[in-house]
Amino acid sequence: MSDLLLLVPFVAVIFLNLLPKRARGAALWIAFGVLVLEVAAAFAERFATIEVSAFAALERVFPFHLATDGLAGLLMLCAGLVGMAALLVARKTFEDADDRFFFSNLVLVALVGINGIAMVRDLFSLYVFVEVTAVATFILITARRMAGNEGDHAFEGAWKYILLSVIASVLMLTAVGFLLLSTGEITLAAAKEALATQDPLAWIAMGLFLCGLFVKGALVPFHGWLADAYTAAPAPVSVFMAGIVTKASGIFALLRIAQSTLGGAAPGREILLVVGAVTIVVGAFLALTQTNMKRMLAYSSVSQMGYIVLALGGDLGIGILAAGFHFFNHAISKSQLFANAAAIEKELGTLDMDEMGGIGSRMPVTAGTTAVATLSIAGLPPLAGFWSKLLIVLALWNAGEYAFAAVAILVSLVTLAYFLSLQRRVFFGKPLEKWAKVHETAPGLLVPAVALALVTIALGIGFPFVLKVLLGGGA
């Protein structure tokens, strides 16, 4: 069954390329269909006790060593939802049919990469799938030749990302080499045993691998590439990157390693606490100073990634749940915000917030959904983000890390501050002269924003129920 998650999008890509030129218009919807299957699979995993003989036969032909569990299901769910949003945004922002076709294909390739990341049980295969996702993303960022001025920066955004990504890959491979020297194997289980025996080689290996993941996940001090990459990329690519790629490549692997290998061991926890806290603070303060909407959202992402890492440094029992939930909330809300940014960019032609003003009355749906997402990320009840922030603070409190819990709460206020600043500059007040003719964007771009906002609200209000299900079913 887990093999299918890798094979289905792959086969879909082959299929898309065998279609005659005239039928290529359907590519986006076929990719959308695959993503719907992805979301379904994320839920099906929990009930996957059905042994179908066909699946067993498949396993014999493709004997991949994959593990699906709750954590994998989480990533797949996020990937599916974010991918769908990205495709819907692409439908309305890429005018060239070729661009849409290649976008759909590359999203599917990246999806296989992400599914691989979700399911692998060994460090080298993790590297391989991280690279697959990274290469697909490199192409996505630079592929489109836009006539507008944002397109000129596509190269610079991609370039920094490429350079740091390559260095991260080299660090991860060196870590694999050290692990090989330590235990002769490269599985996560072997790493866990080696760490338990206090082998210095294993510690070096894990340290190097974590550094590589910090770079991929844009944690401080390796966050330099993120703002340029997110801002310069075309709108649907930003949605996809912010929603899932950075998280899957860096943060998810951290979740997996924290759960299976580090297991709350002391030096690992302290590193996560410090890196998390610094990232939260630096990201938030950098976000405060931005005038470009996408850039502010990018630094906000950096800050929120810090929250996820911070949760892993707390009491691991609650910490994993908190981190996972915040992961999901951020994937939903940030993708939605970038979809909103896409709408604003399309209708106004600029992302400079100083030039905007009062378009709330002209674009009410965009304004409303932006409000929902920003308040959720800032942690306001009864939205979903409030619950995940609460869980994070609880995880820290339980572990006795009162100082870090305080940092988490205080920076929430800064988060609220910069988001309110965004709202004020973009939406509030009377519309400026030049925006008098602006109207709400096409329904095609509103659908992802509204859908994701509704998920945020529903999850927030219904959270106690969700928690019961999660704890009852086992994480």
Partner: protein, 161 residues
């Protein structure tokens, strides 16, 4: 053992040439030479299959790719090239010294941990390992080649607009 160390020194020298050469084509030649020497090192250590791949793919294919990119991106201004050459030397001349210093410094460090050959031997044949244990990696290779194909299709297409 002295021959092998000499080989490694040559490897570093070739890499140094690749970084410091003033003419871009010479730098690429240096890179191809580095790959070739690495292949020899790998062959000497018993990694025959990997050595062959390194030689054919890295020393061969990648050199072709890089030379094609250079020919497609001939810089226009000669003045720009000459000016770049001068500032380049200024930025790069410390490199050999740094490498020698690093090499010497590192050679004085004594590693307390016994790392060599302490694991029970026994591995198997590369082909068996690759085809029966690392199929996931093979699938990953296919995937990344697919991504590469899209990369070529998207990034190298003719300017239509």
């Amino acid at each position: 053992m002295i021959w092998f160390t000499l080989l490694l020194v040559l490897l570093v020298l070739a890499a140094l040439w690749a970084s410091m050469a003033t003419a871009l084509l010479r730098a690429m030649l240096g890179l191809a030479l580095t790959s070739a020497l690495l292949a020899v090192v790998m062959f000497a250590m018993g990694a025959t299959l990997a050595a062959v791949l390194e030689l054919s793919v890295c020393a061969g294919l990648i050199s072709v790719v890089m030379v094609s990119v250079t020919s497609l991106t001939q810089p226009r201004s000669l003045k720009e090239a000459v000016a770049a050459r001068r500032s380049r030397l200024r930025r790069l001349w410390p490199l050999p010294l740094v490498l020698i210093a690093a090499g010497v410094a590192l050679s004085f460090v004594r590693v307390p941990v016994d790392i060599v050959f302490r694991l029970p031997a026994g591995d198997g044949d590369v082909r068996t390992v690759l085809w029966s244990m690392r199929q996931l990696d093979l699938f990953g290779q296919i995937l990344i080649l697919l991504a590469g194909v899209f990369g070529v299709l998207v990034l190298f297409r003719k300017e239509a607009k």
